[in-house]
Amino acid sequence: MVENRPLLNVITHLILIVGVLIVAFPVYIAVIAATHGPLALSSGAMPMLPGGELINNIVSVVTVERRGVAPFWLMTWNSLLMAVIITVGKIAISIISAYAIVYFRFPGRQLVFWLIFITLMLPVEVRIIPTFKVVADLGMLNSYAGLTIPLIASATATFLFRQFFMTVPDELMEAARVDGAGPIKFFRDILLPLSRTNIAALSVILFIYGWIQYLWPMLVTTDPKYYTLMMGVKRMAASNGDGEPQWNLIMAAVVLAMLPPVLIVIFMQRLFVKGLVETEK
């Protein structure tokens, strides 16, 4: 702070409190809705304070099977599996390709780099139909492979590791070579341990990325067995053909579905910030 201005300090806090309230507002409403019985939400005058039905609603969401969606535990498992496979897969293939690009000078290296770079320009949203077709032709619809493998290629993760490897002192590798370490030993015993923080930070970002996927799972799964939580809550919210949707249950499901990544951001804030800032460099 440059100078002390008490009035400005008060205004700063006021603005931030209002900001935090605005940001929290929709989730507050969702949490409140999840704590009431169905009747309290049927009129516009929604209660603003929590009720006592939270446990009942959660039990109902988790245990009662609903038409058109998979059991809640299965969707949670699918989301978790999808997020973990995408995280591990992206990191694994990105770190080894970055290693090849930085520590080897092989013919075609430039081409490989550009092919990976191009993926940045091809988000799944602009190639929905042909990608769906490829996955269908390979028989990967309704499978965990179809849910995850097409999302595993990653230019950003590759660039992050490339950036990091460039900052690793050359002497480390020269010393390792003098001591007779081959490329695999050097990677495993020196580079991988050095990359630990980067891997951790990236994992946080990629786990969130995998958990919140919606369009892709919706395209490649028709079998409820492979539905993810994001699809499940959307289907619950949309199934209001017969009467008013059960908002208390939908909101309980929504709160449960967004809890894991939100908790990760809150409790691993430093890694999260590092991961997000570094991947954008």
């Binding site: 940001v23 520590y103 080897f104 190639r127 929905i128 951001v265």
Partner: protein, 294 residues
């Protein structure tokens, strides 16, 4: 492109290392993108038995189609509104947090978490809040004489997706603005303060100009976000309706191609969007890479 001063001797190893990434990229990115380009020049007969080359027909139809031109305008309004609102609010909040010494981190935590909320969940949340029969905001708005029903009123539907998309993006912009603000040297502000510039003047004449690389970077990222990552928000709130009022370009690719099965037109739309992302990416890497060093 640089490598290390010394590299490992050549062997099949580097090819094995890049193979997984490359195979997935070729199969699931480049090949489908090529297919999209190819089928945007072709017409398939109704039974899917044969295809004929039709040149630029799909494109000329597309750009003669008032629906598509309207979708471009609509997407531009949506993208600009979300970019301006979420960046503006984020900048104010980041500037505030940057002034604080002790409580800054606590506020940051409470502003960052919406990043982890899925777009589709953000859509459901705001849909619930604005729901015309049970939502809380229409109830409040009715006291001000506003009759809220985004299922009938196209403008209100657009406002709804703008609010939902901006809300979701504030945390991202906040984080980058805060990082940018923290890298502006204190000494500059201190020098200006000695020359009796007040906080307001210091911000606009010193801090904000130094922040311009961050601002520019965020503008590109936000345009990208509103164009592509808001699919879930649109799908969960309005599904493009009412009467196309929120049918953005990305949602249209999906609804024309995946639901309407109009492959040729959908492919042509995909290619137009691809060109757009390519343009954005080139701008980002040409101009943003050379970040100003303070």
């Amino acid at each position: 492109m640089e490598t290390k001063r010394t590299t490992f001797p050549n062997s099949p190893l580097p090819y094995i290392l890049v193979a997984p990434q490359l195979i997935i990229t070729l199969i699931f990115f480049i090949w489908p993108a090529g297919q999209a380009v190819k089928s945007s020049f072709e017409r398939e007969d109704p039974f899917g038995l044969s295809t004929t080359f039709v040149g630029l027909l799909h494109y000329s139809r597309l750009f003669a189609d008032p629906d598509y031109l309207a979708a471009i305008g609509r997407t531009a309004v949506f993208a600009l509104a979300v970019t301006i609102i979420s960046m503006g609010l984020a900048l104010i909040l980041a500037a505030c947090v940057n002034r604080l010494i002790r409580s800054g981190t606590a506020y940051s935590t409470m502003l960052l978490w919406p990043y982890a909320v899925s777009p589709v969940v953000a859509g459901i949340l705001w849909w619930f809040i604005f729901n015309s029969s049970t939502g809380i905001l229409p109830y409040v708005l009715s006291y001000f004489g506003v009759d809220w029903n985004h299922q009938l009123n196209g403008n209100q539907a657009m406002i709804l997706i703008i609010i939902a998309a901006s809300w979701k993006q504030i945390s991202y912009n906040f984080l980058f603005f805060l990082a940018g603000l923290q890298s502006v040297p204190q000494s500059l502000s201190e020098a200006a303060a000695i020359d009796s510039a007040g906080p307001w003047k210091r911000f606009w004449t010193i801090v904000f100009p130094l922040l311009s690389p961050t601002t520019f970077f965020l503008m590109i990222v936000n345009l990208n976000y509103t164009m592509f990552d808001t699919f879930g928000i649109v799908d969960a709130t309005t599904a493009g309706g009412p009467n196309q009022a929120t049918n953005t370009l990305v949602y249209k690719v999906y609804s024309d191609g995946y639901i309407g099965l109009n492959i040729g037109s959908s492919s042509a739309q995909s290619v137009v969007l691809m060109l757009f992302v390519i343009g954005l990416t080139i701008i980002q890497f040409r101009y943003v890479e050379r970040r100003v060093q303070y």
